[in-house]
Subunit: 235 residues, 2 copies
């Protein structure tokens, strides 16, 4: 089972500056790629909005994609997609929540050194259900605003019944690490002489023009946050 | 532990047509979103190239992003990123391999019905290491060609030493399901009268112009597969 303990270094204002790497989160294979500072971890978490949550049920691992939002030193995520997880959740469930941003395909001169540029965060810990109506409302606000900033003021907010039907889990950021690969391929010294193109194909997620709901009256304008959508704006 | 059994329906030519849903893979919450036919599962797997592999070590779930390639009824994936997993792998390791393609953000009239358009595949099973040099070479070929079609003929192929240093795992497609959400938001009947814009912000992954390795001589042209990169072409 998970060990529960403090593994964060804070500044005088109580803000987390670094997450102490543990045996489980330390990047061992290519240590240079490991990052443990809060700024890097937060930036990756705030650019993404889909995570992959791993949990164990009857010895079987499950990995489920779901929406999330970082709020301070917690990740809030939808638990409804993982009903299996929630059968065992009253005292919390051990999870691994991973966020991956794919930045490019790295073409090396040798097949062996082909790689991917990416930024990822792996957060381990015990996820707990958000129970009070007030906290659930606040979580719904965070999901909405972190995914589309400016949206909350326009929508019909959740009823008590909807909040009861919403399963939200919270995972404190404690045992967490980031891993980043950037830049050009790293080839074997002898291979640099080969007449083979090498470099990076950058990949990025973009939005297209919003598609209105066919049931939408024609006189409702498209909001600016939908036309000019960007993960950078959502942060 | 995983139950090991046949759960696929094949046609007369021995091609898998559908994966029998099991208690673990059946989509229960919104059953209409579950798909179990091989065509749908293969199409999602072939459009993606980054998966999230979940496994359990000492009771702790881990979820690691890694590159993969589907070859027939198997998924091949890099195991080197998950050295923890491999300590226990000689007889195979229970994994959940999940691939998620994010297609859009669904803006409903109510906060509660906001959602995501996506296509995902969840594959459960026992991953086994690829051991022979010949099979590893074939796996490296598959990785390279599935990620950038046409690349293999240009690169320096792996040496025996590189193949020994490469950890590749194979997961047979057996207990597998797809889940898809498409189209407009689904709002509560009364909310359709609200003067709130609703619709979908489509999201897609695109490539930018290739960035040459700074160490590349100027006389080596950019290959067509790097300039006109597309996941559709890679399929």
């Amino acid at each position: 089972m998970m060990e529960c303990r403090e593994s964060r270094a804070m500044d005088r204002g109580g803000h987390v500056q670094t997450y102490e790497p543990t045996e489980k989160t330390r990047v061992t294979r290519i240590p240079d790629r490991g990052k443990y500072d809060a700024e890097t971890v937060h930036a990756i978490l705030d650019e993404g909005f889909v995570c992959h949550v791993g949990f164990v049920a009857d010895g079987q691992p499950f990995v489920i994609p779901t929406l999330y939002a970082r709020v301070g030193e917690e990740i809030l995520f939808h638990g409804s997609a993982a009903s299996r997880m929630l059968r065992e959740v009253s005292e919390g469930v051990a999870v691994c929540l991973t966020v991956t941003l794919v930045d490019g395909i790295v073409l090396a001169r040798s097949a062996f050194h082909h790689s991917m540029n990416y930024r990822s965060v792996v957060a381990l810990g015990t996820a707990l259900p958000v129970t009070s109506e007030e906290e659930k409302m606040s979580a719904m606000h965070a999901f909405t605003e972190r995914i589309v900033a400016g949206r909350w003021k326009d929508v019909r907010i959740p009823t008590s019944q909807e909040l009861r039907a919403t399963t939200v889990l919270r995972l404190p950021l404690s045992e967490v690490s980031a891993k980043i690969r950037t830049g050009a391929p790293k080839d074997e010294e002898a291979d640099y002489a080969l007449p083979v193109w090498a470099g990076v194909i950058p990949l990025l997620q973009v939005h297209a023009l919003p598609i209105p709901d066919p049931k939408l009256p024609a006189n409702i304008p498209v909001p600016r946050y939908a036309v000019g959508y960007s993960r950078k704006l959502a942060r």
